[in-house]
Symmetry: C2
Subunit: 393 residues, 2 copies
């Protein structure tokens, strides 16, 4: 049972079944009582879905009131018609909520190349408004596609002027149904802030959270993270300390949502956390951490609870770790040091296997080549992943 996750002040949310899916919620709506500072980050895939093109053009902005989300059709590779469909959904949402069209953001997830079923979605707006409540739970259910568990979270942070709340929801990149799969993240807060600051904070935090997870190395046409701050708490982060505290809270929310996505990857049985420190640049630390999380060989070895450090070294080399670093770097699996100072370490193989039996696996690398550190999250590769994505065999 997922506990009730309260929204920040001034937000309402709902998630209902529009009829696209048989019975599960598939249509989500968020409304703020007042205009929000809003920021977003989007997929780098050059095939961007219509809602992504729309939101990326609107953001950052200072007057956002609502977000509408449908799950079932991605509205990607749908051409001009897709852009028109997106505009119609925006217009009717604005009309229903009594806001203007440019105050509405959209996210879609589902099958690529299929148009939005507007005949089903537009009539669902009135019931969605009727479903408005003070928690994000139903919205979190409505954005799921093949996720096994909903991903919702809330957190309060005390600033000098008072307490602000952040509540978030996300869906993962599982792809059970053909063409399905998108990462969506939403964070709402009642902090009083401006769009420019929120935009900078969002982009920087997404780089170290949502952009550091991988289920299978595939980027989607629809990946989006949207952050709305409506100021309803009347608390602003005026001091440097307040801004740092809020930044930390926002990062914690995004990191927890990102980790929940990795843990719920298709067929996954283990969450893999890869920490790379001692990097000569932040880019290399990130690339090394990410390449380890996307390695099918390492993912398979973790699934088999096999302390296979050779595959990790080879992947570090693929990431472009400087040759001289291999004479000094350290690799640790859980608490077992398996390679150090350029040499394989003697370790108790049975004990190392036993440690890998945990559903949380840590791969820690110290490159000893600089001050930069990065963490990435992924999951193990299982036969279930292949089953899920084979459709039938």
């Amino acid at each position: 049972m997922v506990p009730k996750i309260e929204l920040p002040k001034g937000f309402k949310a709902s998630g209902i079944n529009s009829g696209v899916r048989r019975y599960r919620p598939d249509f989500g709506l968020i409304l703020s009582d007042m205009p929000c500072a809003a920021a977003g980050t989007f997929t780098r895939n050059s095939l961007k879905a219509a809602p992504v093109l729309y939101c990326a053009e609107r953001l950052p902005a200072s007057d956002i009131r609502a977000i509408v989300v449908n799950s079932g059709q991605a509205n990607a590779a749908t051409g001009l018609e897709g852009i028109e469909d997106n505009a119609k959904l925006v217009a009717r949402t604005a009309e229903t909520l009594g806001v203007t069209a440019d105050q509405v953001l959209v996210a879609s997830t589902g099958v690529i190349g299929v148009r939005l079923p507007l005949d089903i979605l537009l009539p669902a707006l009135v019931p969605a408004v009727r479903g408005f409540g003070d928690s994000i739970n139903n919205f979190g259910l409505a954005i799921m596609t093949t996720d096994l568990v909903p991903k919702v979270i809330t957190r309060e942070v005390k600033l000098s002027g008072g307490t602000v709340r952040l509540s978030g929801a996300a869906k993962g990149s599982g792809m059970i149904h053909p063409n399905m799969g998108t990462m969506l993240g939403f964070v709402l807060t009642d902090l009083k802030t401006d769009a420019a600051w929120l935009d900078r904070a969002t982009k920087s935090i997404v780089d170290e959270t949502f952009n550091m997870i991988s289920v299978d190395g595939e980027t989607s046409t629809n990946d989006s993270v949207l952050v709305l701050a409506n100021g309803a708490s009347n608390v602003a982060a005026t001091s440097e300390a307040d801004r740092a505290a809020f930044h930390d809270a926002l990062r914690d929310v995004m990191r927890d949502l990102a980790m929940a996505i990795a843990r719920d990857g298709e067929g996954a049985s283990k969450l893999i956390t890869v920490n790379v420190k001692g990097g000569p640049t932040i880019e290399l630390a990130r690339e090394a951490a990410r390449l380890i999380t996307t390695s099918p060989l390492i993912k398979s070895a973790v699934h088999g609870e096999d302390p296979n450090w050779g595959r990790i070294l080879a992947r570090l080399g693929q990431a472009g770790v400087p040759t001289e670093a291999f004479a000094k770097l350290r690799v640790q699996l859980q608490s077992t040091v398996v390679f150090d100072e350029g040499k394989p370490q003697k370790f108790d193989r049975a004990a190392a296997r036993e440690q890998l039996h945990d559903e949380n696996v840590l791969i820690a690398v110290d490159l000893r080549s600089g001050p930069f550190e990065a963490t990435a999250w992924g999951c193990d590769l299982t036969k279930r992943y292949v089953e899920i994505n084979t459709e039938y065999s």
Copy 2:
């Protein structure tokens, strides 16, 4: 039964069991009666095995006489000791064959981080010489690690001055045993040529053959392709037409070996050929073709014989295909056009599935954005891949 693959004139080869493996050949030796023009290409992984560092420094060269190969230990991540071990193997090989040390090339494949068992390998040199014959078959067997089938090929090409032969052997990047896995390719020819020309031809051909295959997107510490031309035919490619004819033959040999590696990928049941034409640059055509062959979602869909074109579009976007290309590009699965001019095409899904039942699957993309074309080869993703790499589950 693999037919006998004859060597070009002036070459001898053998493959014997040194004792590293229980009974299979694991130690290969090639000797040319006369000095060879020699070229090589090597892994871009920054963790390069000792034999790779050694050969890369030697090549191109005009006086190579021999190649020695061991399978079982990769001699990677073995530090200075690994470099010394490699030098000892080279020295003893040269001594045994009556050539100088700098006339000997080496390739190793096997476990990362384990030193060469010189106490086993050095005594195997005399039996290896005793095993010399006029075919490449035993050598092809000796370089196998987890390959299911040996990969050997020969071809003759008629030039104006007479006929020359090319014979090749390769091993694939299957990784059944922990840390195993390397792609090795060897081509021997009796063409009379110089090292500089051979080097240019080799590098350019490897880029469109061995560098265009993928089993799982992992690059090894030991990947090497070595080409030796000993001139024993006394036929040189003097005219432009001769050079083109030989270049084509060398490309055919390398392509066939590369395709054999992809087809024999771990757990694979299908060879996937991806052709991308109409690219604005050769780099983008290659990147798009390769990203399709490395996509776990597409590989799973092919395994499931599922005509899932949405995943292909998303992967093209990940490769950075220009946004405007999506309004005109065409995607074809076997002979079925599934997407064209920016629109999903109506097709008989059952018939498309039936076509995908073949063990050779073609994915053809026309980006309609330029003159560049590339082909990549891969294999489907099966539960067997996960089983193999999980060691146990």
